[in-house]
């Protein structure tokens, strides 16, 4: 029973990792940049949840959409500040601007919301279900549901809408996309907005499980990178599967081996992967051009 309990807890954590990683890949696939500020975007989402739900007292059904809409705007601002002015620079320089943006967000959060960890309620309060010896909080089920909906939504958006296809075209060949009339500035902004929305959803879901604090982004962001590497950079299904796997492995290892090194497992797995299977579970898509 304990095993099952741990697996469920692990899956919940893994779903969050997957959400953040999906946002990360959104940007990577659009502009080939690893956004090292993704975790901080998640943190902002958590605090916006705090502001809308607790401080402004909005009902949940309103607070969530408001938060996500605000995140979309923040995503666009993120792009305008950290990507647009420096596009075309070498990657080892670009990587720094996303880090710098993360620092900016984290410290703005510190100024606005203060350094103390704060509780953000779940739409389901602390309701739980008991199945035999296993306890499942309603919030955890909610996490699964939201992750599934976001995934489906993303799939639908990319494959069934004109705008989604334009974004795919931009990611696959930016110059060609311009030549067929796609306004790539908007689709890139869209990618950043979507990435921020994913991060925001992650933040809203994580905050009730732990607490919202300005420094929460760093470690969650790192996990998202780990998940992306393990899944194979660029692969969406790889990120989801690697995210869930990592969540479970981490929880089990912490439960059965040692919780002292809980955070180290992810990195050990990642480094091992880099050594034995550098392209990740689902391989990086490499298109060879003659």
């Amino acid at each position: 029973m304990q095993l099952l309990q741990l697996v469920i807890n692990g899956l919940a954590m893994g779903a969050i990792y997957a959400l953040v990683a999906l946002g990360l890949l959104q940007i990577f696939n659009a502009v080939r940049i690893v956004n090292f500020g993704q975790g901080q975007l998640l943190m902002v989402g958590a605090f916006l949840g705090l502001s809308t739900i607790v401080q402004a007292g909005l009902p949940m059904w309103l607070a969530y959409p408001v938060t996500l809409a605000a995140m979309a705007v923040i995503g666009v601002v993120f792009m305008l500040v950290a990507y647009y002015p420096v596009r075309g620079k070498p990657y080892y320089v670009l990587i720094l601007t996303t880090i710098a943006m993360g620092i900016v967000l984290e410290n703005l959060a510190l100024i606005i919301w203060g350094p103390l960890p704060q509780a953000v309620p779940s739409p389901f309060g602390s309701a739980q279900w008991q199945f035999g010896g296993v306890t499942v909080s309603l919030h955890v089920l909610f996490v699964f549901a939201v992750t599934a909906v976001m995934l489906l939504g993303q799939w639908w958006f990319f494959n069934r809408t004109t705008y989604g296809r334009m974004m795919q075209a931009t990611a696959q060949d930016m110059e060609m996309a311009r030549l067929v009339g796609v306004r790539v500035r908007y689709t890139i902004a869209g990618a950043f907005a979507l990435a921020a929305v994913f991060a925001g959803a992650g933040g809203l879901l994580v905050a009730p499980m732990f607490l919202a604090e300005p420094s929460m982004g760093g470690s969650l962001g790192l996990k998202a990178y780990v998940v992306s590497v393990i899944g194979g950079f660029g692969s969406l299904q790889g990120a989801v599967i690697a995210g869930l796997l990592l969540g479970v492995v981490e929880t089990l290892a912490a439960g059965y081996i040692s919780s002292t090194y809980r955070d180290a497992y992810a990195f050990i797995i990642m480094i091992t992967m880099l050594f034995v299977m550098p392209r990740g579970l689902f391989g990086e898509k490499i298109s060879e051009r003659v």
Binding site: T162, M166, E175, M176, R178, L179, V180, V182, R289
Partner: protein, 235 residues
């Protein structure tokens, strides 16, 4: 219809085009021939707005377009089908074509008629409409690239090396299609290294060398010009 006048283009310190001028009249097929690196592709990339000239102007139906973005130029009716086909590899054939309709499509507009038109020209694309673009052969990809450009309802089609890497039989089919497209009322500016094929379908041509227009004339004149024969037609 399309006038290029005294255009200079620099790649860093390198002058890629030097005072290039030529015109394309409505309904024509005009070809630019020349060796690798002579500036043919640069011409097309400049017209479609990917490159900005350091001097000179480009007018389309009397209106200067040199300062426009590629996104706006394609909306004004100039479609550029660049070298190397450049289909969107992860999209299906049909999705590639639908993205091609971006220049005119508004929310809810149907692309069915345009799709039919392209499928009529290239029946192969209809058979393969749900296949991913990367999995198609070179010739099919080239047809898709041309079809995608047509989906934008262009007045002028810029074709860059459509014969590249294709077998003779495929080239033949493709160029027949290019002629039919032209007969549908689309003006064509064709860049080709394969001067023989290009001159066989075009009405007029220009020869580029080292970023300059060195010869111009009707296809017959060019075909019999000794310089062209020696340099591009293999003696």
């Amino acid at each position: 219809m399309l006038e290029v006048e005294g255009v200079d283009v620099q790649y860093g310190p390198v002058a890629a085009l030097r005072g290039v001028s030529f015109q394309v009249r409505e309904g024509e097929i005009v070809t630019l021939v020349g060796a690798n690196g002579s500036g043919k592709s640069t011409c097309l990339r400049t017209i479609s707005g990917l490159l900005r000239p350091t001097a000179g102007t480009i007018r389309f139906r009397g209106k200067a377009i040199v300062d426009d973005n590629p996104e706006d130029i394609v909306r004004s009716g100039i479609a550029h089908c660049p070298e190397g086909r450049r289909v969107f590899p992860g999209l299906t054939v049909r999705e590639n074509l639908e993205v091609g309709a971006t220049p005119w499509r508004r929310r809810g507009d149907s692309v069915a008629d345009d799709l039919e038109r392209v499928y009529d020209l290239f029946p192969r694309l209809k058979d393969r409409s749900t296949q991913a673009a990367w999995s198609m052969s070179g010739g099919e990809q080239q047809m898709l690239a041309v079809g995608r450009a047509l989906m934008g309802r262009p007045k002028v089609l810029l074709l860059d090396e459509p014969s590249l890497g294709l077998a003779p039989i495929v080239i033949e089919q493709l160029f027949e299609r290019i002629v039919s497209i032209n007969k549908l009322g689309v003006t064509i500016l064709l860049v080709e290294q394969n001067a023989g094929v290009a001159l066989s379908v075009a009405t007029r041509g220009y020869v580029l060398e080292n970023g300059q227009v060195v010869l111009e004339g009707t296809t017959d004149e060019l075909r019999h010009h000794p310089r062209v024969r020696e340099a591009y037609l293999g003696g």
